[in-house]
Each structure stands twice: as C-alpha cells, then as structure tokens.
C-alpha cells in the first residue's frame, strides 16, 4: 500500500466579490468543487482540516465545519497559525496520511471579508478604544500600530541594513499584477508600473497602498489522499515532497530579526525532506500580504543571499519568464486575499503542476514551493509540491 501523500482535488469558491456567499458558504462551495475535481464520493472522506477565524459572524472553526459538512472524520486538525495555517496543514496531513490516521482528507477555508466589511485597508486595529486589554497585545495596543505598520517596520529595517529600495519592492507588485492580468477573476487587472506603486498613497512608511494586498471574498479547498488511492482518480496527483513550519514570534513586538523570518528555520527542513534545493524549484507561491513579505521569504528560504533580494527582484527574476515566477494567479496583491490566503498558494501550485494554468502556465513546471506567512511574518509554513513521484 503506497501511502505517499498526494493532492488529488482542488476547488475555489467565487471571488473576488461574492455578496451572495457568507463565510461558511465559501467553505462549502469550495469543498463541493474540490470533491468534484477529485472525482471522489464525499462519503469516502475520513479526515477534515480547517481553520476559522476570519472574524466573521459565521462560526467556521474546524469542529463546526466538520459538523456542517458532516464529515465522519477519524482525523481532525484546526491548527491556526494565521495565513500560513494551510501550509502547516499540509505538513500535518502528510504525516497523518503516511501514518494511516486517515486515508482521504478535506481542507477548507472561506471568508466573506470584503462583502462584510468593505475596504478596511490599514485599519487593522483589533481592540476597541478605552477597553482593557489582556495578554501580550497589551504591550502594543496602546500605540496604535496598524497591520500594515507591522510589515512596514520590517521593510524599514531591511532598507536600512541592505539599501533595499521602494522601487525594488514595487517590482514584486508589478510582476504579480502581470499575472493578475491573465486571471479573469482577479480583483485588480489594470496594467501597473513601478511608478504607479511608489506614487500611490503612503499607508505606513515605507509601504504604499500598492505594496499592500487586496481585500476580497474567497474560499478554497483541497483534498489529500494516498498515492495508491490516486491511481483510480481522474486528476494527475501532486506529490507532497516536503513540508515544514516554524515560528519566531506571534505579536510583532516580539520579532527577533526584522529582516528575516522563520522561513530560515522551516526552509531547510522542507528542502531536506524533499531532497531538493532552491535550484530545483520551478515556481514560487509566496504569501504576498505585502511586497516586503515576498522579499523576506525569498531571502530566508535561501533563493537569494540575505540582503540581495532587492537587486534580484529588480532584474525581473520573479516575473513571467523569470527564474522563479511568483504568484501566477495574481497573488494576494492583485487577485484574491480574503484574510488568510495560505490555501490559495496550494491550489495555484497544484494548477501549475498539473499543467492546467493556461496563459499563466510556467513551462515544464515540476516543482513548486508554497510559503505561507501567518501573523506578522510570525509563523512560516513551507510546502514543496511536485508533479513527479519522489
């Protein structure tokens, strides 16, 4: 019995604007589409993994969703590391499937963030004024930092230490936009230049509006099973070659190195399990909450030496046709970011590895690396996926 873990189905709900769906219905629609894509019977699912917490009115944590979807699971996981949760889920599920804790598991996510709240870019305060705050956030909440500000402090330090420029960061947003122009569903599809980015409004120095991800609705799902079971299913299986996760902090004030992240810890573990190096990777799916997130992931995962990311991206290496094409679905920066984007990294990597990406297809794509960032560059999850049997 070949228990090598594989991804055999994926599904997206409707995005970027879906006022007809609440958060739970995003989970459900994505799940139904993933089940159809995988060509399995729902009744064969014996594992469920999910994470709620997009802040909606609908409770969508793992146990509630397992009940709603009615999955009679013998394996469940609701690990919540922010936007990287789903890369951690791949790590956990790969182990669970190898160990026989379950055979076929469904992972879902959904959020109606845009329809619910409208655009709240940069207003990310989590406490009400005058309210008593407990726990570690009480050492930060009085100072009014924004979500963008937390990442901006990374960008500011990176610029200070390495001379990274706003123009270099803007190249990341421009490259991802070029892919968004190929995605009819993407939130933003107009052509965009480096000048457009650096002339857009400053939100939290040095990050401009167009250094920041979109706010959208959206949901995603994928199905993992054994390579044995995949033989009878219609889609080309995508292999989990190596997955790992690590954490340096949660609240941004506890960050230990504002120019790096836990990718430096998780990356070598994931590559080690896969028996690969960055040179073997054909395309990247990075959590592009902000342009600086991508730059720090790129360096910490060893694709370029620390501090050299800025000039490297300015040479176009992450663009279509470049050495490591990045976020071929248009990313969170231009296409879809409903709050916790990590699941979309997996889904797009699978599309590429199956060769189903149309105009955005990376030629001969055999290995894709997904790197999720949760919190404030806090919890980094890495999943290396491949088209070929390890």
């Amino acid at each position: 019995m070949d228990r090598t873990p594989v991804i055999v189905g994926t599904g997206l709900s409707d995005y970027p604007k879906a006022p007809h769906l609440d958060g739970v219905q995003h989970h459900v629609l994505a799940a139904r589409r993933a089940i159809t894509d995988a060509g399995i019977e729902k009744s064969t699912l014996d594992g469920y993994v999910g994470v709620g917490g997009s802040g909606g009115m609908m409770i969508d944590d793992a146990v509630t969703m397992a009940e709603y979807l009615r999955i009679d699971h013998r394996y469940i996981d609701g690990t919540m590391t922010g936007g990287s949760s789903f890369e951690f889920h791949v790590q956990h599920l790969a182990a669970a499937i190898r160990e026989g804790l379950c055979d076929t598991a469904l992972v879902t996510y959904g959020s109606d963030q845009l329809s619910r709240m409208g655009r709240m870019l940069g207003t990310g305060g989590f406490q009400r004024p005058g309210q008593r705050v407990t726990g570690p956030i009480q050492y930060e909440a009085p100072y009014g930092n924004s979500l963008v500000g937390a990442y901006a402090m990374h960008a500011m330090r990176h610029m200070h230490e390495f001379g990274t420029t706003s123009e270099q960061l803007a190249e990341i947003a421009v490259g991802v936009r070029e892919y968004a122009m190929l995605n009819p569903h993407a939130m933003y599809r107009d052509p965009m230049t480096v000048d457009d980015v650096i002339n857009s409004r400053m939100i939290a120095d040095p990050l401009h509006k167009l250094d920041c991800c979109a706010i959208t609705d959206g949901g995603g799902a994928f199905i993992m099973t054994t390579a044995e079971r995949a033989k009878d299913l219609p889609q080309l299986p995508v292999y989990v070659l190596g997955a790992a996760g690590a954490q340096t902090h949660w609240n941004v004030g506890q960050q230990v190195d504002f120019t790096s992240c836990a990718g430096a810890l998780a990356g070598p573990v994931a590559f080690g399990r896969a028996g690969l190096t960055p040179d073997d990777v054909d395309m990247l799916m990075f959590y592009d909450s902000f342009t600086i997130t991508c730059l720090i992931l790129l360096e910490s995962l060893g694709f370029v030496p620390k501090g050299e990311g800025g000039p490297f991206v300015a040479e176009g290496n992450l663009k279509k046709g470049g050495r490591w094409p990045l976020n071929t679905d248009g990313g969170g920066l231009s296409s879809c970011h409903p709050g916790m984007r990590g699941i979309f990294l997996i889904i797009e990597a699978v599309r590429q590895l199956r060769g189903q990406a149309g105009e955005a297809q990376v030629p001969d794509c055999r290995v894709a690396l997904c790197a999720g960032s949760g919190g404030w560059l806090s919890c980094i999850g890495v999943a290396i996926l491949g088209a070929d049997r390890p």
Partner: protein, 149 residues
C-alpha cells in the same frame, strides 16, 4: 527618570495589570521603566513573563536607564480606529533598550519625518490609570547621551 504626565481621559486600549506584569505597569506610574532579568542565566526579557524564556527559571525585575535607540519604525498614516485616527500621522517604533531587549512604543513630540533608525531616544510616561503608566519615547538631543553604545 520621572517624566510622567497624566492623561485627561485615556481613550486608547488600556493595559490590564495582572499578577505577573503588575510591577511593570505600576513602575510606569512612578516614571520608572523595568524589565525582567533571570537570576540564573542573566537573560533579560520584555514583555513580562512568569518564566525566563531562555532557561525557564523565575525572572526578577531590574530598573532600566530609560534610554535606547530606534531599531526600526514606521509612520502610520492610515488608521481607522479612534483616537489614533485623530493623531495621524504618528510614529510606531521598536526601541532597542540600552539593556538589550526590544520594546514597542510611540516616538512623540517630534516631526515624524525626523525619526531615523539608530537615533537615541529617552522614555517618558503617560499615566493612563491609577495602576498603569504607559511608556512613550522622545528623540534625545544630539550629544546628550552619556551611555551611547
């Protein structure tokens, strides 16, 4: 180090002293900045915890000089939540204390554009409640920094 002003009305999120962190917030009311140091391994840490994050022993309190440098910062220019919205733009910084640890805070009483990484800063406090003094920072005058690193 006893630069304490009292807020007319504190409308920002108000820290909640508990059995572990009460000495930290109370010290602020007196204009003192304290952090924790481990008696066993000498590790210094912020924020206050019931264990040393390095060796797990029970940390003790130590007084700080109230001086440090800007490790990194941002100028927040968009924020929906009051009262912060009314104070835009403002500086949020990570201060590297002369004692070692990093601590978040606002740098006040300055042109936000004048803040630079590496700039020396000194603490002051705002009394937010009877038991809570919140530390803030000001740029130190150039040359007025006896403990420059």
């Amino acid at each position: 180090m006893s630069d304490v002003t009292t807020a007319d009305e504190w409308t920002k999120p108000l820290p909640q002293p508990d059995d572990v962190n009460r000495p930290y917030w109370n010290a602020g009311v007196e204009g003192r900045l304290v952090i924790q140091q481990c008696p066993r391994c000498s590790h210094r840490q912020f924020y206050p915890r019931a264990l040393c994050t390095q060796c797990g022993d029970e940390p003790e309190w130590m007084d700080c000089t109230g001086r440090g440098t800007v490790h990194t910062f941002t100028i927040v220019r968009q924020m929906g939540m009051r009262p912060f919205r009314d104070e835009l733009p403002y500086v949020v910084a990570m201060i590297e204390l002369d004692e070692g640890p990093l601590i978040m805070g606002n740098i006040t009483d300055c042109d936000p554009e004048s803040v630079e990484i590496g700039a020396p800063v000194a603490v002051h406090f705002v009394r937010a409640a009877d038991d809570v003094g919140v530390p803030y920072w000001r740029l130190s005058a150039a040359g007025f920094r006896p403990s420059a690193r």
